[in-house]
């Protein structure tokens, strides 16, 4: 019984890593000044907020990945070490 390469957990990890790309490369979605926060136009605080969001997402990905790897290591025969 071999664990599949694509599992729901790995899909979540991939989504966590892809999300910042979608959000930040879609410049049209945030190229505006309103709403202003603490005097700072939206364009600026939104991107800075994404620093924190993407950090949180990467952290989730890291934890999930660690769990995934540990699970696979405890059943070494299931996965031939083929992990990213």
């Amino acid at each position: 019984m071999k664990a599949p390469v694509v599992t729901p957990v790995r899909v979540v990890i991939a989504l966590c890593l892809v999300a910042p790309f979608v959000a930040l490369l879609w410049v049209g979605s945030y190229a505006k000044t309103d709403p202003v926060f603490a005097g700072i136009p939206f364009f600026y605080w939104y991107q800075m907020m994404w620093v924190l969001l993407s950090t949180a997402l990467t952290m989730v990905a890291f934890k999930l990945w660690q769990r995934d790897q540990r699970a696979r290591r405890s059943h070494p025969s299931q996965d031939g070490g083929a992990s990213a």
Binding site: P20, G28, I40, F43, Y44, M59, G81
Partner: protein, 538 residues
């Protein structure tokens, strides 16, 4: 600019500089291993750094003095367009998370010191490895030169740069001293010196940013006031603005993406990564490195503050040092200048080590003296690190600053062209070595020609890094267009070559090599001295 020398600021600056110099020389004793005469020791700090040291080292490495001066300078000049540095540094981390642990593993298994080592081992092609090495060296040299430009900006504002009519030697003496000292401790301590100094650098930078972001807006009447004044200026000038216009959005996105892809192709980022102790150190770092992005974002806002504070400089690079001198009391301005100055030393040291490693491993050992011992390798590397710095110094002193900036711009475009060979190679061996080489050549050529053709109001050539993307019609980052072209050529030629059954090089790596972690067989926390020189598997 105030007249004459700012004595208090200068004194504070010198004190910090001396402290850092002492640390640099003492660093060779820090976590010293038994065999100090191997390239692993001198050039990678014994591959022993944990999460925090790696964090400081990478931060000190990637967020350079030039970044601190240039990012706010871009905002000062153009507004929103300069802010792409923030999404750029956000996108870097998911990328690192995905591919660097694999590079770390395979490098530890096979004793690779540079990216070219890996490319040669993976594709069995010295030609491809040479292309990657040369690109790396070419891209790094102007980057080192720009660190000097950063120090120069600070020295100028402190009034020790001398006037136009001072003798050139007196004028450049402070810079010469700073670089002499840097060269000496890099030579003796290797990567340990910048790793240790990075602590001081980052602490200073964080203090300065924290103070600047609270103190300056209070003095200027709050962020509302700052952005209102900036908006006024951009409207009056008819250029730039607080948000990128519709037409500038492609440029913004492609610059962010292209720069993010390029960053970890730079030899100095790889050097700092390979010096870490385990795979997890790298992944854990991607969750704490974004702190620097936050700092960069705040720093970028200083560009608007410079406008609001009425700073008028013809050389945009001086805007931020000038803002500090105007707004801060002298002693704190000294701390801020020290932060920028030391911020130049750390990356300059790492970059020169990285370039030296490339030369030694992939040109000297592969082409000139294949039987070099680890001692000889280390010796050559140390000497080359000196040469690289002297070269950068000569570059800055003899040529116009814009030349260094132009080359740095080109360097970014060039280094991105090594992405398919390196990252492609980490995940698949499908790409053919000749196709990769051809793709690289096409990307380099297109990028160089396209950048040459960009004119700006002040320059006829190399006036910027964006140009119309053929076939799409939007303005985009040249590096990314060249990269796409490179990829297309590589894929098409690989298909052709595979169909023609062109011979593949020998792959010395195996699939397990890419996931090996510290503690696994064949991967030791401290590599045995022999591995570094033997380049295991040859």
């Amino acid at each position: 600019m105030k007249d004459g020398v700012n004595g208090v600021a200068l004194a504070v600056f010198i004190v910090f500089f001396l402290a850092v110099t002492v640390m640099g020389f003492l660093a060779s004793r820090w976590r010293r291993a038994e065999n100090e005469h191997s390239l692993d020791e001198w050039g990678l700090g014994g591959r022993s750094f944990g999460t925090w040291v790696t964090w400081f080292l990478l931060g000190g490495d990637l967020y350079t003095a030039y970044t601190f001066v240039a990012v706010p300078a871009a905002i000062y000049a153009a507004g929103a367009a300069g802010f792409f540095a923030v999404p750029y540094t956000i996108l870097v981390y998911p990328l690192i998370f995905t591919f660097l642990p694999r590079l770390w593993s395979v490098s530890h298994r096979h004793g690779y010191v540079t990216t070219s080592d890996f490319v040669r081992g993976r594709f069995g092609s010295k030609g491809l490895s040479l292309a990657v090495a040369l690109t790396g060296i070419l891209a790094t040299m102007p980057y080192i030169a720009l660190q000097l430009v950063g120090i120069q900006a600070v020295l100028d504002v402190m009034g020790v740069g001398g006037g136009e009519n001072t003798n050139w030697f007196i004028k450049d003496l402070p810079l010469l001293i700073a670089f002499g000292v840097l060269a000496a401790y890099t030579y003796s301590s290797g990567l340990r010196a910048p790793a240790l100094i990075a602590f001081v650098k980052d602490t200073l930078i964080y203090i300065v940013i924290a103070v600047a972001i609270i103190y300056i807006p209070i003095k200027l009447g709050g962020f509302d006031e700052i952005f209102a004044k900036a908006d006024e200026k951009f409207t009056a000038a008819g250029a730039g603005g607080l948000v990128p216009p519709e037409a500038g959005q492609w440029t913004y996105a492609t610059l962010a993406l292209g720069s993010a892809l390029a960053l970890f192709m730079y030899p100095h980022s790889i050097t700092a990564t390979l010096s870490s102790r385990s795979r997890d150190v790298i992944r854990r770092n991607t969750t704490i490195l974004p702190l620097y992005s936050l700092m960069l974002g705040l720093l970028a806002l200083l560009g608007f503050m410079a406008i609001a504070a009425g700073i008028k400089v013809t050389n945009g690079q001086l805007a931020i040092p000038q803002l500090f001198e105007t707004m801060f009391p002298d002693w704190f301005a000294g701390v801020a200048f020290a932060a920028i100055g030391i911020g130049a030393l750390v990356p300059a040291a790492i970059m020169s080590i990285a370039a030296a490693n490339l030369f030694t491993r992939n040109i000297y050992k592969d082409f000139i003296k294949p039987d070099a011992t680890p001692e000889q390798e280390t010796k050559v590397s140390k000497l080359v690190s000196l040469l690289v710095k002297v070269g950068a110094l000569a570059f800055v002193l003899t040529m116009d600053k814009t030349v260094a900036i132009n080359f740095q711009l080109l360097g970014g475009i060039w280094i991105l062209q090594t992405f398919p060979a390196l990252v492609g190679g980490l995940f698949t061996r499908w790409f053919h070595r000749w196709a990769l080489l051809a793709g690289w050549a096409v990307g380099m050529l297109y990028g160089t020609v396209a950048a040459y053709g960009v004119a700006s109001p002040t320059q006829k050539h190399f006036g910027g890094s964006s140009k119309e993307i053929p076939g799409i019609g939007e303005i985009g980052y040249i590096g990314l267009t060249a990269f796409v072209l490179n990829l297309v050529v590589t894929v098409v030629l690989t298909l052709t070559l595979r169909a023609a059954k062109a011979p593949d090089g020998v792959d010395e790596t195996s699939p397990e090599d890419y996931t090996a972690d510290a503690g696994d067989p064949g991967v030791q926390v401290e590599l045995p001295p022999a591995t570094a020189g033997a380049g295991a598997g040859h």
